[in-house]
Symmetry: C2
Subunit: 284 residues, 2 copies
């Protein structure tokens, strides 16, 4: 990854334009917080309600108070600053705010709302050509109280991502300690066999992605345990997230190879039609 | 915990006095970093070399570059700002610095060194009277690549600590998913039975505390798996960390009760003698 100059990225903390956060924030100290990464298309965020719902569910889990009103006020402020209508990515970080030195939260937590704007990632045509995954050595640990939500404790993903260059492998597959397929590093996995779609159940580890939620609400998909070797027998596999849409998987190292699936392509087209994101919806 | 006003705490980032950090720092984004909490006694840090060693080992694990020279330069700068010789607590946070939006690190990571000064916690006499622990519902997940080091992904500790008020239970016991005793929320556990000291092995989860390291270097202690029920048969139990020293455990909810152990008291005395911390060494 080339170095990025963040000094020109629009960034707001609690409604104030700033590129800084308190060095005493519990988000930094312990990862006591959550984040969302949202696709903005011509000034709109088609999956806003799903992002907000996950954020509120995560806040409940971590003992944070999040105001939907403030969230939407700050969202609109960032969209305005980014000269919307524009295409881009909005990052929202919610933290428990400042605390003292120890793990115990202060009596009164004051939530920090940090919203930042990023350009869309490069369209590298993976949505059409498909993608090859490696299987990460880094396993996802079982932690039911943290499973599903998008909290700020992401060292497993950082270590997994560091195993391979992005240029060689844009995504990697992650398993749990029992060898179950859970997700890709920054996306969720769906697979299809003989008329049935499957996706890993995420009640012990993994992030329940917003695009995954969207697809589960719009298609019949079975959530279950999937051992790595079971992928060999699948007819189609894809990964998805809310920034990049749906991307076919055409190879998993040591597991198998696939063609770009025809039903996967139908789902991609449906996303383009339903969310109105045009061709940019699925760029791998 | 009462609210804390951090605005008066000495705080330095890369040698500059500031209470702020970049809002694009990977320490905030993903917890991509490490921390140390060091007891300062009359301007000295008796366990400095052990803290530094753990920090360097953790940096190796997380792909961070840490310069011992810079670390010691910034340490001395903070000691000076805190008007040492003084008693207090130094917090050191090392992060991977600024990055872009994704998990992949930039080609060139620029390490952030954040050093902060805090007053000593209150001496509540637990070191003499002993302490009662509850058994946390929150389990520590197996993650060998992260075990032992003091990284910034600490939501398990945050959730465990939130189960009970500090005033009722100053510390809680944490188990792994298999029911093994691993550590207390912010300290390590030692126990003694029939002439032998034991402490949990920390190769799958847990933080290998600096005080634990110090005691292992100065006493014969067996590192092994310890199931919760095994604690019932122990003659003495204590917890320890590098800020609070050694604190006897006199009760664990649902497990058993103990007297303040006589060998534990000998170890406390030896700490006072060897590290020269005087009476403040063990305040629970």
């Amino acid at each position: 990854m080339p170095a990025m100059d963040n000094s020109t990225q629009p960034s707001f903390l609690n409604g104030q334009s700033t590129a800084f956060l308190s060095a005493f924030d519990r988000g930094l100290y312990y990862g006591h917080g959550l984040f969302e990464t949202l696709r903005v298309c011509r000034g709109e965020i088609p999956l806003w309600s799903l992002h907000r719902a996950r954020l509120l569910a995560g806040a409940e889990r971590l003992g944070l108070t999040v105001s939907s009103e403030l969230l939407e006020q700050y969202r609109d402020q960032l969209l305005l600053a980014a000269a919307a209508p524009a295409d881009g990515v909005m990052k929202i970080i919610i933290t428990a705010g400042e605390g003292g030195r120890g793990y115990a939260a202060p009596d009164k937590l004051v939530t920090s709302y940090l919203l930042q704007w990023f350009p869309l990632p490069e369209n590298n045509n993976y949505a059409a050509s498909g993608i090859q995954l490696w299987v990460s050595e880094q396993r996802l640990a079982d932690s039911p109280s943290l499973a599903g939500i998008k909290h700020l404790n992401r060292l497993e993903q950082v270590l997994a991502r560091a195993e391979q260059a992005v240029e060689s492998y844009p995504e990697g597959l992650m398993l749990d300690n029992n060898g179950n397929v859970i997700e890709a590093i920054a996306s969720n996995l769906f697979c299809y066999r003989e008329g049935v779609w499957f996706t890993p159940v995420l009640n012990r580890c993994g992030v329940a992605g917003v695009m995954r939620e969207y697809l589960l609400a719009n298609h019949v998909v079975e959530q279950c345990d999937i051992i790595l070797a079971e992928l060999t027998s699948m007819d189609e596999i894809f990964i998805c997230n809310s920034v990049k849409g749906i991307c076919p998987v055409i190879a998993i190292d040591g597991v198998g190879e696939w063609s770009v699936g025809s039903i996967t392509q139908q789902w991609q087209q449906q996303l383009r039609d339903d969310l109105g994101w045009g061709e940019l919806v699925c760029f791998g």
